[in-house]
């Protein structure tokens, strides 16, 4: 333990600057401050990563999320707490306000402790439903840990997620690893696009209430089963604040971080809970998957003026956007996931162009994506818009408004350049010369002498 703490202290010194992009103030809400020792490794790891961890219980008097309208903490970690409601300082409205103010929340649940109503309300606003009566445990009679839950089957041993969805970054993917989920609470996700399940229960799992449904589970009363039951899911709000629901708080405890688990008929292997916990917390607290737009440049192709406010129809323009990604402690060039493209829309009401941006350059900490194209033959107020919104990555919505004007009166080709105008020009010439000629003849011809 001591060695671990000293390592942590050393790491802390090294990583004091290397902190999350969202800020370093982390508040852990737990039943009893003394309880933090059961999560010692996990919390120590967080502290080592540069977080300034404070601990409060829901009953604490001085607990507020906001001070003078400003967020007091950048991140919240909810560990299971036996309090039914979380008190006046952690009402669902406050928590939604916290998310709206770009605060991140990691909610860890446990089937041994009923979830607080405040959290249940918060999650239901996010379209995440928990079992009725706030309790329910996920069991799987095929994927359980034969060592610790030989009878109850409520410690799930699952393959670590791989390929959650095509075209996403692989932050949570630990190929070949296994995860142990002791006493997990399953939850069901609504169909909102902001939600992404990270770990789903296997097809053979189901959720039941051990107190009331221990004998018989009516199909009508079944909360959820199989793949619909999510164990870990993430939500990224539109302002890129992150909320993670972790079905099993126990998996963060020291005893489960490196626990050895055995599947039915399998070998005794070491669970990858530690690495997974690091990644889940790192993602939630904005240490990974954070994108930064360093700058947008658009210009006429033959001009040096950057980002003009007005273009003309049919101009040739080039556009480039520079993106960086935060990876634990440094900014690195952003590389697109496989099977994904970064697109530029040139739009007024609807896109007139939708173009794939190609990588045109890379610096130490930024990747530049760009494209060149010809503006449409339509004047109006257009947007250069990069609307790159993917799960696990902070949203990029870069809108640069420019006006596209019509041809000025002196920008059209002159009439003598247009071959179709030649007949008319020659007509003018003929009329003028005819008139001048007539005048000349008229003036220089001698008047006929008066005959009569």
């Amino acid at each position: 333990m001591w060695s671990l703490l000293s390592v942590a202290a050393a790491l802390f010194a090294a990583a004091a600057s290397a902190v999350s992009t969202g800020g370093s103030r982390l508040l852990v809400v737990l039943d009893d401050v003394a309880e933090k020792d059961t999560y010692g490794q996990f919390l120590g790891d967080l502290a080592a990563r540069g977080f300034d961890v404070s601990y409060e219980t829901p009953r604490s008097e001085g607990l507020t999320l906001f001070h003078l309208g400003e967020r007091k903490y950048d991140h919240l970690l909810f560990l299971p707490s036996k309090v039914k409601g979380l008190g006046p300082n952690l009402t669902p409205n406050r928590l939604v306000d916290f998310v709206n103010a770009q605060g991140n929340i990691l909610v860890a649940l446990s089937s041994t402790v009923p979830a607080s109503t405040s959290l249940v309300s918060l999650l239901s606003e996010l379209d995440v439903s928990l079992p009725i009566e706030r309790t329910g445990t996920v069991v799987d009679h095929f994927n359980y840990d034969t060592v610790s839950a030989a009878e109850s089957h409520d410690v799930l041993v699952l393959d670590a997620p791989s390929n959650i969805r095509p075209g996403l970054k692989s932050y949570f993917e630990l190929p070949g690893g296994v995860l142990a989920f002791p006493h997990a609470v399953g939850h069901v996700l609504g169909s909102g696009p902001l939600l992404t399940p990270v770990v789903r229960a296997p097809a053979t799992a189901y959720s039941y209430n051990p107190k009331e449904q221990s004998e018989i589970l009516d199909a009508d009363e079944l909360f959820a089963a199989g793949q619909q039951l999510a164990l870990v899911s993430v939500l990224q709000a539109r302002n890129s604040a992150r909320v993670t629901v972790l079905g099993s708080a126990e998996m963060l405890q020291d005893k489960w971080l490196d626990a050895k688990v055995t599947r039915v008929g399998g070998k005794n292997v070491k669970a990858d809970n530690k690495e997974f916990a690091r990644r889940v917390s790192g993602w939630t607290f904005q240490e990974i998957g954070v994108l930064r737009v360093n700058g947008v440049e658009h210009q006429l192709q033959e001009s040096d003026e950057l980002n003009p406010e007005i273009y003309r129809i049919k101009n040739d323009v080039s556009y480039s956007i520079s993106l960086s990604e935060y990876s634990w402690d440094k900014w690195v060039p952003f590389t697109l996931p496989e099977d994904d493209v970064l697109q530029l829309e040139f739009s007024m009401l609807s896109p007139f162009h939708r173009l794939d941006l190609a990588r045109t350059g890379t610096t130490d900490d930024a990747a530049v994506y760009g494209v060149s194209f010809t503006l449409p033959d339509q004047h109006g107020i257009f947007n250069f818009k990069v609307n790159y919104k993917r799960s696990f990555l902070t949203y990029v919505e870069e809108k640069n408004t420019v006006s596209v004007r019509h041809f000025a009166h002196d920008e059209w080709p002159r009439s003598f350049v247009i071959s179709g105008a030649w007949p008319w020009i020659s007509g003018i010439g003929a009329t003028v010369s005819g008139f001048v000629g007539f005048c000349a003849i008229w003036m220089y011809s001698k008047p006929a002498g008066k005959k009569n």
């Binding site: 309300s121 379209d127 399940p197 107020i381 019509h406 009166h409």
Partner: protein, 741 residues
């Protein structure tokens, strides 16, 4: 004033004294014309009025700030968001260029005047010129020296013209009426003299007129009609030929220099009469030449048939070209001139403008007072002495009266001819009855019979006035009428036409004036509290004002060039929130502005205009917006608890009455415009939040909410904010909704 104008008639002897007097009187008239238009400045302040002037003012500021070339190519990205408007090519630049020129001229004279003051005072200044132009025009009609001065006075203070030219009414008409009258004067002059120079001058001012006002089409049509009537009367002359061809050729070239007009003079039906008469007059000229060379009656009749045939063929060709699409048919505004019901059925956007409504009878008297019954007398006098210029007055009177009857705002084009004709009649009366000389016996009045002019029936023997009592009575009653006219004009000007409509005035119980300044309060709020590029959605009436006063981009404005875009706004206003919100998001709307008069009893508010929004939206989306749904089954348009569901759920209704009932004690919320009781339970707004409400609740501004941060719909998010618990999601009935990933 009336007394002054009688001065010359009393009879001074020397010519130079008369001229001096005339100049002095004209100066006085101009001063009277200008000063009677200053009511609004004195009552309120030096402010631009109403709606369109705000655009003209903004355009003038742009012109002064950026120069003429930039103005010419101006692409305005702060109106019609996100379409923008090619403003430089879609406006009549005459007004702005005039103000800009005055501004720069004063600058070079080292008189620094604010451009706003130039704009405010341009219309009164032009009215002085109009009075002078009317004087010139009338003098061409009659030999009576008093007629011109009377006409100048009439023109100077007639409410029909003042309505569009008070100080601050910085509109195209301000300058265009002067140009109209002056162009007519030059045309008469050119026609009388058969002079190319006057014809060219006429064309020049016609070009200026085209640059200034869309109403130039009135000249474009009236001059050919005049020429045609003269030809049909057998009055073709080389004078007519020279003046008409000079005017047409140069005038058309001049008009084509205006980008907004461009090729219209050879493409649209409005301009075809002028082109047709131009060809016709060439033909006549040719025939006249042939006839002078070869004589013979049969040949002449043969030629006449040829003429008729050519005319008919030309007309057929025009119809064919129109139907093939080479010549644009009459525009909707023009159709509504012939069929007053046309716009109401086919183009609601035109019918929705109050100044496009047919004129009510009282407004003729209101705007012209006793001139309206002197007018026919003046026209009759023209028949008595039917020279070419009198034919012009007759033709002008005929068309002017018709158009003024069809559209309220065309009263403006009628007013000059009314003033001219009425002045002729009045001066005839005054000249006859104010003469000290006794009438000569009727036997000696046998004048040589005029062969050319005059109707046969009008050649009555002249009768003189013998009794002084008659003279005193008639001229005395005339004087009374003139005085009444002056007082009526002053009263109308001060009471009806001097309100800026941006600032409203009301009377306090003790009689003092109370200014209601909600419009400017709200626009100032927008200017100070919103982002520079915050897009404001409102009904198009307020577009120019928002652009001018608040300096914020708008979706639609009074330049109603894009009916679909206006219908889109109409749809957003008349639909449910769930329908409106995506429209507003798509158009990047940040704020919505509505005008609501229920608290104050201000009847020009959006609820009263609402049916037009519905109609215009229905024109584009007949399946989604239905006017019928806004009426109760009994066919009533109601806003109280008996309003239809569609009405109650429409965004406009919600925005108007949001929180309104909370102003009143329970059960007493009343709408003072509609005169009904409003239910205590007001509408609920989910996608918008109230941002600003002006002092008297006339302007209400709402902010469009962003999408919910955590992905709920607005109704749920708003319910959560209000503290309502979400319904238990687990108590599901029926099949489970599964998430598919």
């Amino acid at each position: 004033m009336a007394a002054k104008t009688q001065g010359p008639a009393v009879g001074y002897t020397t010519e130079s004294t008369r001229t001096l007097l005339r100049v002095v009187i004209l100066c006085f008239i101009a001063a009277a014309a200008i000063s009677s238009r200053l009511f609004s400045v004195i009552r309120f302040e030096s402010i631009i009025h109403e709606f369109d002037p705000w655009f003209n003012f903004r355009a003038t500021k742009y012109l002064v700030a950026n120069g003429f070339h930039k103005f010419w190519d101006w692409f305005d990205d702060r109106t019609w968001h996100p379409l923008g408007r090619v403003t430089g090519g879609t406006l009549y630049p005459g007004l702005m260029v005039t103000s800009g020129a005055i501004y720069h001229a004063l600058r070079t004279l080292t008189i620094p005047v604010d451009i706003r003051n130039i704009c405010v005072l341009l219309a009164p200044a032009c009215s002085g010129l109009t009075a002078f132009a009317t004087y010139l025009l009338t003098n061409e009609m009659t030999t009576s020296p008093s007629a011109g001065l009377l006409a100048a006075v009439f023109m100077g203070i007639a409410p029909g013209y003042i309505s569009r030219s008070v100080a601050g009414s910085y509109d195209n008409e301000a300058i265009a009426i002067f140009l109209l009258v002056f162009t007519f004067y030059l045309w008469i002059k050119a026609l009388k003299l058969g002079s190319m120079l006057w014809g060219a001058l006429c064309a020049l001012f016609y070009g200026y007129m085209v640059a200034s006002w869309g109403g130039y089409a009135f000249i474009t049509c009236l001059l050919p009609v005049h020429a045609l009537v003269l030809i049909c009367m057998g009055r073709y002359s080389t004078r007519l030929y020279v003046s008409y061809t000079t005017w047409y050729a140069l005038g058309t070239l001049a008009s084509m220099q205006i980008p907004f007009v461009g090729f219209l003079p050879i493409k649209t039906s409005e301009h075809m009469p002028a082109l047709g008469i131009f060809g016709f007059i060439q033909l006549i000229g040719f025939i006249q030449y042939v006839r002078s060379a070869i004589s013979g009656r049969q040949f002449q009749t043969f030629l006449v048939t040829i003429l008729v045939a050519t005319f008919g063929l030309g007309l057929l060709g025009l119809v064919a070209l129109t139907s093939l699409g080479y010549v644009a048919p009459w525009s909707g505004r023009f159709y509504s001139l012939w069929d007053t019901g046309y716009a109401k059925i086919h183009i609601p956007i035109i019918a929705s403008v109050s100044e496009h409504q047919p004129t009510a009878w009282p407004s003729f008297f209101f705007d012209l007072n006793f001139l309206i019954w002197l007018f026919p007398a003046g026209v009759y006098l023209c028949f008595q002495d039917l020279k070419d210029e009198h034919v012009f007055v007759v033709v002008y009177a005929l068309f002017g009266s018709y158009f003024a009857g069809v559209m309220v705002r065309l009263m403006l084009t009628l007013t000059p001819v009314v003033c001219v004709a009425a002045a002729m009649a009045a001066s005839q009366i005054l000249d006859t009855y104010l003469s000290w000389k006794s009438a000569t016996p009727p036997e000696e009045q046998e004048a040589p019979k005029k062969v050319k002019g005059g109707l046969r029936g009008s050649d009555k023997p002249n009768v003189g006035i013998y009794s002084n009592l008659t003279k005193v009575m008639v001229s005395g009653s005339m004087l009374v009428y003139l005085l009444m006219f002056v007082s009526h004009c002053t009263w109308v000007t001060s009471n009806a036409y001097s309100s800026p409509s941006v600032v409203l005035a009301s009377r306090m119980p003790d009689g003092s004036q109370h200014i209601i300044d909600d419009y400017r309060e709200a626009y100032q709020w927008l200017r100070q509290n919103t982002k520079e590029d915050a897009k404001i959605m409102s009904w198009w009436d307020y577009g120019y004002q928002i652009g001018g006063m608040a300096d914020r981009p708008t979706l639609v404005d009074n330049n109603t060039w894009n009916n679909t875009h206006i219908a889109t706004v109409g749809k957003a206003m008349s639909s449910r929130e769930e329908v409106s919100y995506p429209i507003m998001r798509q158009h990047e709307v940040d704020y919505v502005l509505v005008v609501f008069g229920a608290l104050l009893g201000y009847s020009g508010d959006d609820i009263n205009k609402f049916l037009w929004m519905v109609r215009i939206a229905e024109g584009i989306w007949p399946d989604e917006v239905k006017e019928r749904d806004f009426f109760t089954p009994q066919g009533e348009y109601r806003v109280d608890e008996g309003a239809t569901e569609t009405m109650k759920n429409s965004l406009m209704y919600k925005m108007s009455y949001y929180n309104y009932a909370s102003l009143f004690p329970a059960g007493q919320a009343a709408d003072r415009v509609r005169g009904v009781r409003i239910p205590d339970q007001g509408p609920v707004l989910n996608t918008l939040e109230e941002a600003f409400t002006s002092e008297n609740w006339i302007i209400r501004i709402y902010k469009v909410k962003d999408l919910d941060n955590i992905g709920r719909d607005h109704a749920n998010a708003a319910a959560f904010e209000r503290g309502q618990k979400k319904k238990k999601p687990t108590k599901k009935r029926g099949a489970r909704v599964l998430r598919v990933d």
